[in-house]
Amino acid sequence: MKFMNKKGEGIMQWSIAWVFVALFIVAIIGFSIGFARDNSSPVSIADDSELMNTYGNVTGNLEGFQTSSSETLNSTLSTTISPTSASGTTTTAGQYSITLNDLIGVAKNTLRVGYSKIFGSDSGFGIFITTFLSVIAFIFGYYIIKAWIGRTPD
């Protein structure tokens, strides 16, 4: 991932990329379903339960991202500083990092459907998806630390 080591790039670029991936998946599958319905196609991807599960799961991930983003934004906007506090520190604040949980779900659902549809559900290739998801969780984890503590884990 060449964008990770460049100046000004990081958690926002990575997160937005996965949000766009989720929107792309919803758009492609949604268009295919609508095309088959409008034209009364005898072959429709709506007949495949696994792809429809992925469609529902990714849509759920996007809704979860939207909900948690709104909640953390409201939490951040309502941050207050007590005038009577000696230290003058904030009394409430929200962390944006928690919204990444849904984006990990997007990556997981995307890889799972690709793995099962291209390599098959009973293949011994499962170590690939397991390792790749671990790497993605590792990257997200370090970016959360970076956003929270302010250190650069790269």
Binding site: F3, K6, A17, F20, V21, S32, V43, T110, K117, I118
Partner: protein
């Protein structure tokens, strides 16, 4: 004079082009995936090589997405007639398009997208 003897069964050409396609694909089931593969690589290699010749660099992820969507459009049109494409080929086309999109969006730099 004897009529020409074919070594294969000719498709019925009196009931429309779609019947010819259906009977051809019934005889050769690999026609559909290979045709979609041809569409994909035609757009992918053609577009990227033309861009490289014109600008000096080729945006391979972008052309893979365009090629995937092109193949998907053809596959969706084929899905409107019974017997042209099987469900598994349509699903694999959708999944490959999705993974081209994953490659595309993870490859973008901040000045793009």
């Amino acid at each position: 004079m004897q009529p020409f003897l074919y070594i294969y069964d000719l498709p019925n050409s009196t009931s429309g082009v779609d019947t010819i396609a259906t009977q051809t694909i019934t005889a050769v089931p690999a026609f559909t995936p290979l045709f979609l593969l041809f569409i994909f690589f035609l757009v992918f290699i053609g577009g990227s090589s033309r861009q490289k010749a014109k600008t000096g660099t080729a945006d391979f992820p972008l052309w893979s997405v365009i090629a995937g969507i092109s193949a998907l459009m053809i596959a969706l049109l084929m899905s409107t007639i019974t017997g042209i494409i099987q469900l598994q080929y349509l699903i694999i086309t959708v999944v490959i398009t999705i993974f081209c999109g994953v490659w595309f969006f993870l490859d973008r730099r901040p000045s793009e997208v």
